[in-house]
């Protein structure tokens, strides 16, 4: 407490003579024009630019088929699934040989899983970003510990920019929000890019079209 007073007094006197009138600049800017189609296109391009993959599918059945393909082609033996209802609904339609782990399973088991399946709060098209809120059942560990992360996102949850995403949060900010743009990466050894270090090495996003007049 002592340090608090000491610091605040000094900060206060350091700027006591400053003229404090000038305001903060307005940061509002254009979003992405062209409706959902433009958002989907930009999102797909940007995710690919950061070494992720977007699978745009027409409905939940198609999403389940896509997940099934990912599980088979990558020979997944254990899948950690978050509490997210959409992720669980899709996972339950996939019948395979793999073991399914729940968030209640212990941390070590989730760490050993080959793939983690989660939902996502929003997708941000401008930078190909997923917005995860672990406390909203987006699976803090399922999205992080396994080497392969698959996220389910609805097209209605795409926004243009980070500003729009933050505005959608409103007053209720979850304790943790993670913005994810592609798989984890490092270039700490001689500037050589290596994809996949502590976080997932692969990120697949199954983008489920939930427009009422669907593209099917």
């Amino acid at each position: 407490m002592n340090d608090r007073r000491w610091i605040l007094d000094r900060v206060h006197s350091a700027i006591a003579d400053v003229d404090r009138e000038n305001g903060l600049p307005d940061l509002s800017r254009e979003g992405i024009d062209g409706g959902i189609d433009a958002l989907v296109r930009r999102f797909t391009d940007e995710v690919e630019a950061v070494s992720g993959v977007v699978h745009h599918v027409a409905d939940i059945d198609a999403a389940a088929r896509e997940l099934d393909t990912l599980i088979r082609s990558n020979q997944i033996t254990s899948l950690a699934v978050s509490r997210d209802p959409l992720a669980r609904a899709i996972s339950s339609r996939v019948i395979g040989q793999h073991e399914v782990l729940d968030p209640e399973d212990n941390q070590d088991a989730i760490a050993e899983a080959d793939m983690g399946l989660t939902g996502a709060r929003l997708g941000i098209s401008e930078h190909g970003t997923l917005m995860l809120a672990p406390e909203d059942d987006h699976g803090r560990l399922a999205a992080l510990l396994p080497p392969h992360h698959v996220a389910i996102l609805a097209t209605s949850d795409l926004v243009g920019t980070l500003s729009e995403a933050l505005a959608r949060l409103g007053e209720e900010i979850p304790p943790t929000i993670t913005f994810v743009s592609g798989p984890s990466r490092t270039a700490d050894i001689e500037q050589t890019l290596v994809i996949g270090i502590h976080g997932p090495a692969r990120v697949d996003i199954i983008l489920v079209d939930d427009r009422e007049s669907g593209t099917t």
């Binding site: 930078h127 803090r140 994810v180 743009s181």
Partner: protein, 485 residues
Amino acid sequence: MSSIHNVRSRHFKQDIRSAIADVELRGALARAQEQVNSKRSKAVDAIAGDWESMREKARSIKAWTLEHLDEQLELFESNATRNGIKVHWAKDPDSACSLVKDICSQADARSVIKSKSMVTEEIGLNAVLEASGMEVVESDLGEWIVQIAGETPSHIVAPAIHRSRKSVHALFEKTLQRSIPDDAESMTMVAREVLRKAFLRADVGITGVNYLIAETGSFLVLENEGNQRLTTSLPRVHIAIAGLEKVLPRLADLDLFLRMIGRSGTGQVVTTYQNLFSGPKQDPAEDGPEEMHMVLVDNGRSEMLASERRRQTLQCIRCGACLNICPVYRQIGGHAYGSVYPGPIGSIFTPPVAGLHQASQLPYASSLCGACRDVCPVKIDIPAVLLDLREEIAGDDAQKRDAETDLKVRRETPAFRHWARAMHSPTRYRIAGFFMRCAAGIASRTTVLDRFIPPLAAWRSERSVPRPEGDTFRNRWKARGRQAR
């Protein structure tokens, strides 16, 4: 007392010599600088139409915040406290380290995992925690490399930039006592495997902070590897440490700053992960930390804030662009600066924090070319601050400089006094010019004379004396005037 851990900038002159003689270092630096600068240019050029106005906005937000820092810090504190974050204040490194040590002890921590944080390097946190018996593991790959090598980071963004792949490989094999393939990917995978165990056994996770958001009592930390997500997901306690200057007033300001910092730092459009924390977990059944602490560190910052000319130093968002563009950094790397903050930003941050007498050579480690100012995303006029520091260092108080700088000042002061006198009137200037031309004419023609006159000899050992050619500028200008008439 403000200070910087293990500062050895008084040995700058000697350390430059060994850095320049280090062939591995210079190869690594040239490669790294070229790569990151070309990526940065590409990323910035892609939004070239907006970049300058973005810089101006970023500068004005940072400047505004510093001018309102007392209110903004108190606002952050009250909002963060309401979110369940325990906010602590530390005036200096001793206070900050003992605060963190106490939090760790209360949590019965035996093992601490850290993600990259420059302020913890500044205050020397690892040494304090280790001295009280805790295991401290750095989890960012570059930081881990320098930790197992027993070094300090040589760059604020890329800590191991000074090392070649071969030297990292040798270090890994020696430390881990096993044979490892020598490609970057295999070595990275080995690091993942070793560090994963450290994450799983850690009791406390420590991170730095990129932005404190006053409006919401949140804070945001950037990374690419996922080590910080692990640091803040697995251990029971999360301690974040931030310099006072990290505040942004509004959550919406992130939209601007996040589009700038990745481009400036590594040439990425955005970093892979951006983690926004607004409190510990609410539901015991969830994963994540039960306790979240924020330690706000002053360590000389409030004093810097009081100086109108130096205040802008605190606008820094630690992107490292000024290091990457600096022709001096390129030749000598980070370690020679003798501070955890090297390069142009280090040369204006280190002296006021560590004490001018500890780092008086650093403000001279620049040709004032201004490249750092031109790339700075928040428009810090680094050359202007360097000059301000030089003015104080060269002043009447010899306590504000080290022996090396004192010698330099005592040699240069009479020369500049004469120069000032000569510049005082056109007549004096003409007379002084005449004598200087004669002197330069003689010195450039002889190989003997200037080698034995002490101040000239030192200068001459690395340069040749220019020979004045043709008529003087003043005469030519006069002649031109006559012609025009």
